[in-house]
Each structure stands twice: as structure tokens, then as C-alpha cells.
């Protein structure tokens, strides 16, 4: 399984990547903002999931989701954020986000959310 992990915080990327690897997701491609994410995503070949932060410089997580959905990509996208205000959540859903992982989270919550967005490939 291949995951695109987008967060401007290197610390948060480390935490999530470590969590993903402990769930046997070995291929984690990291990007620090939406622009870098789009460049690394390319035509999307081989990617199974996008995990993205919301607030990032250059291109936000919301703009990234809009760009990916606008280009016709249908893979699951999960927002990892502290943002839970109703109007913001609605915006994200309208843009095509499949699920939310609210910070703070633990390994159990990460696994639960992954199993929800990737039901055909249940993690450990």
C-alpha cells in the first residue's frame, strides 16, 4: 500500500509515518505542502490514500483536495487537522474529503480511521 502524507510539520509527518509503518504500510511518500504533494503524486499511479493537513503554506490541504478531485482522482483522502468547525468540515466534505483524523490522536484512532477509509485492505 502506498500513502501520500502531506503536512508542513516534519514532526507530524514523522509521527504519522511511524504510525503507518507500524500498521504495515511501508510506502509513505512525504510532502511539505500541496504544491510538493501534487508534484510527487504525478498521475496518481500506485497511490492508495492521501493523508493531508489543512493549514499549510503555498497550497492548503483543502486546495490540494480540490485539485485532486478536479483532476478526477477518486482515491480516499483523509484530513488530519485540529479544525472541526462545522462550516469548515462542510467545506472539506464538499471538496471531496472522505474522513477526518482530529489531532490529538493515538495509534488506535489512526488504525480505526484507516480501516474506515480503506475497508478492502484492513490494517492489522
Amino acid at each position: 500500500m502506498k500513502v501520500l502524507l502531506v503536512d508542513d510539520s516534519g514532526v507530524m509527518r514523522t509521527i504519522i509515518a511511524r504510525g503507518l509503518r507500524s500498521l504495515f504500510i511501508e510506502e509513505v511518500v512525504e510532502a511539505a505542502d500541496g504544491v510538493e504533494a501534487l508534484a510527487k503524486f504525478g498521475d496518481g499511479e500506485g497511490f492508495d490514500l492521501v493523508l493531508t493537513d489543512w493549514n499549510m503554506p503555498n497550497m492548503s490541504g483543502l486546495e490540494l483536495v480540490q485539485a485532486l478531485r478536479g483532476a478526477g482522482h477518486r482515491l480516499p483522502i483523509m484530513m488530519v487537522t485540529t479544525e472541526t468547525e462545522k462550516s469548515q468540515v462542510l467545506k472539506a466534505i464538499q471538496a471531496g474529503v472522505n474522513d477526518y483524523l482530529v489531532k490529538p490522536f493515538d495509534q488506535e484512532m489512526l488504525q480505526l480511521k484507516l480501516n474506515r477509509v480503506l475497508p478492502s485492505t484492513q490494517t492489522a
Binding site: 510539520s9 516534519g10 514532526v11 507530524m12 514523522t14 509521527i15 511511524r18 493549514n55 487537522t81 485540529t82 479544525e83 472541526t84 468547525e85 482530529v102 489531532k103 490529538p104 490522536f105 493515538d106 484512532m109
Partner: protein, 166 residues
Amino acid sequence: MSLCIDTQTTLVDAVNASVVDVFQMMVNEEAVVLEKGDLPRSSIASNVVENALTIAMGFSGDLTGSCCICLPQDAAIRWANLLIGHQTEEIDQTVIDAASELANIIVGGVKRRLCDFALTMSLPSAIRAGERNLVFASNISPIQFRYKFGECELAVVVALSQSSVC
């Protein structure tokens, strides 16, 4: 305008719950609430620059002001170690990034718990100083919260004013 009593009570609960939650969820450690009180004016603007790290985040909307997470050096280093296993004896960029993430998640949790208020929070800014070096406008009464995790302490200083009438 100062905070209404109800708002203060809600704020205290929100800060305490958010700090405890972040430590429990992110590093499986208990953050013990030590005390809460007004930041003593006598200790404000100390000439002694503490070897510490403060992460400041702004609030705007129904409540305006800032929330500062203040970590003495040992606490900042310990947090980075607990969070990602980072080993260092001094505050470096990774420690600053880890502390910024701590502030981001704590303040995000406070905002989430203050759901009756329309609030926007800013990105975190890091300052190489402790809470004794913080100064605030005279019309704001900062509230200080102290916590202990392991042998380390951290402080949260919230300085907010309320735009609406109580």
C-alpha cells in the same frame, strides 16, 4: 473587555481538558494540573531571560488575544523526546517544531471546546523566552495554568478579551 465569569470558567475547563488530552493521546503520559491563577504582575517583564521556549498563537473573533505555551528547556527537550524520540541537550529546530505542534494541538483543542464562540487561530510563533518574559496590554488580565509531566513543568498563559457584552 475582560472575560465574563462564565467565559472564564469555560476557558479554564477547555484549557485543562485540552492539555490533559494532548499528553494522553500523543505520548500516553499524564499531565497533572498544578495551579491556575492570574499571572502576577510582579513577575511580568523580568530582566532575567529564561532558557525556555514559548510558542504564541493568536485568537481573533468573539475572543481576541493570545495563548502561549511556555516550556522550560528541560520540558521542551523531554516533549520532543516523548513525541518522536528526538535526542538532544539543547533546544534545536526539531525541539522548536515539536513544541509548535504541541501548541497547535492544545490551542486547536481549546478552540474546539469553545464552540459557542466564533474563533480563528493564527499559526504558531516561537520565542526563546519563558513566561516571566511575557508582557501584555494593561486592559488584559492574563490567566496562567501550570502542569507537570514527569519531572518537567509547562505553563499555559491565556490573555484574551471578549468583544461582546457579558
